[in-house]
């Protein structure tokens, strides 16, 4: 990157957006979630983050500050077309950190932070959406603040610029109360979708944006190999006929088998092969190995 881009004297605002499945299509036949470019996009709170950045930049520019708004996304190539649209609303730069697969919030934040540090985007204000629409936890901004060593104000419901480089933020508290914060650089903030609606880009800007390029960063981070939780295999649930019985009590007795004689435990001493056979036999007798539903 060109160091002139760093805007050392001015204020760099970076809006972080997440490319997410907005309307996940769960295939009822296989139960798999299908991601498609056409049903993916950015959440309303991410749009609010971009709009907030643009408004702050506008306000501070009017007061004589040089402000640069950058939109940053850690996401796949599919996101590129939609990211380009941020040029049309007024972003100066759009940067994509290549990330093809789903990662934990901590890892995404690490990736984003690597692009935000002073030697890179040199962000004074990082503005995120409060939670992503694909069941996000809203923890990315918190991790970011930690990585960047910035203050944080998360889940904001209102933003107002004051003097250049400082702003009033409103946060919801329990019991219908509000908290007003005065924030100065450097800070990570996250906003709710209701804070602002992204402006509609003019036709000329939309046409011009088609020619712009999204900057691509490839960041090599050696993630530790993830170990999925291990647990014993459990046979899948079976469909059982509803218990017979005229009243609730007898049905419960029937269901739990409380008063019927239970099968006595047996201890078998066998070779491994025979033991395996016996286990399979017993499982089959209980109906676990049969995939077709019991009659």
């Amino acid at each position: 990157m060109n160091s002139a881009d760093l805007n050392p004297a001015g204020i760099n605002l970076v809006a972080c957006v997440k490319w997410a499945e907005l309307r996940p299509e769960i295939d009822p036949l296989h139960g798999s979630v299908e991601a498609s470019q056409r049903s993916s996009g950015f959440s309303s709170s991410d749009f609010a983050a971009v709009e907030s950045a643009l408004r702050l930049a506008q306000a501070w520019s009017d007061q004589g500050q040089v402000c640069v708004v950058t939109v940053l996304c850690a996401g796949p190539e599919d996101a590129e077309d939609s990211l380009r649209d941020f040029f049309a609303v007024g972003a100066t730069r759009v940067v994509r950190v290549d990330l093809a697969e789903q990662r934990s919030s901590a890892q995404v934040a690490e990736l984003l932070a690597s692009a935000l540090v002073p030697s890179q985007l040199n962000a004074q204000f990082v503005i995120c959406g409060d939670v992503s629409s694909d069941r996000g936890s809203g923890s990315v901004p918190a991790y970011l603040a930690h990585h960047l060593g910035m203050q944080q104000a998360l889940g904001l419901i209102g933003l107002e610029s004051t003097d250049p480089g400082s702003l009033h933020a409103t946060r919801r508290l329990d019991g219908g109360r509000r908290e007003r914060l005065l924030l100065t650089a450097a800070a990570v903030i996250s906003v709710e979708g209701s804070v602002a609606t992204l402006r509609r880009s003019s036709l000329a800007a939309t046409l011009a944006a088609k020619q712009k390029t999204v900057e691509l960063r490839k960041q090599q981070i050696d993630w530790p190999t993830e170990v999925n939780r291990l647990r014993p295999w459990r046979p899948r649930a079976r469909v059982l006929a509803p218990p017979a019985g005229d009243d609730a009590l007898s049905r419960i007795l029937e269901l739990t088998g409380a008063q019927s004689g239970s099968t006595a435990a047996r201890t078998l001493r066998l070779d491994p092969e025979q033991a395996a056979e016996a286990v399979l036999e017993q499982l089959a007798a209980w109906g676990y190995l049969d995939d077709s539903p019991p009659a």
Binding site: R23, E25, S36, R38, S39, R200
Partner: protein, 99 residues
């Protein structure tokens, strides 16, 4: 085979299978005062999204949100000026995926 083996879904379930990116501006408005004089009420039967509802005072209650933007209503409408019809703001409204 009878209908029992293929239970018909409710209208709400039917409409919930469709994505609508609702814009805050109503792209269709209905002037209920004009509808009060309408005897045919074709919109109520023909609108595939079932968005026209009779009100007790003889008017029409209309909600624009879950609209296919098909044009049926203004074509079957009987009274000049009852329906003001336009497309929603670009990028909003119905979005099909598997049709």
């Amino acid at each position: 085979m009878s209908t029992d083996s293929y239970p018909e879904i409710s209208f709400e379930t039917r409409m919930s299978s469709v994505e609508f990116r609702v814009h805050e501006r109503a792209h269709i408005t209905v002037d209920s005062k004009i509808c009060a004089d309408c005897s045919t009420r074709g919109c109520i039967t023909a609108c595939p999204a079932n968005l026209f509802v009779s009100t007790a005072d003889g008017g029409i209650l209309f909600n624009y949100e879950l609209c296919f933007e098909c044009g049926t209503c203004y074509m079957v409408c009987n009274e000049e000026g009852a329906i003001s019809w336009s497309y929603p703001e670009g990028g909003h409204g119905v979005v099909f995926h598997s049709s």
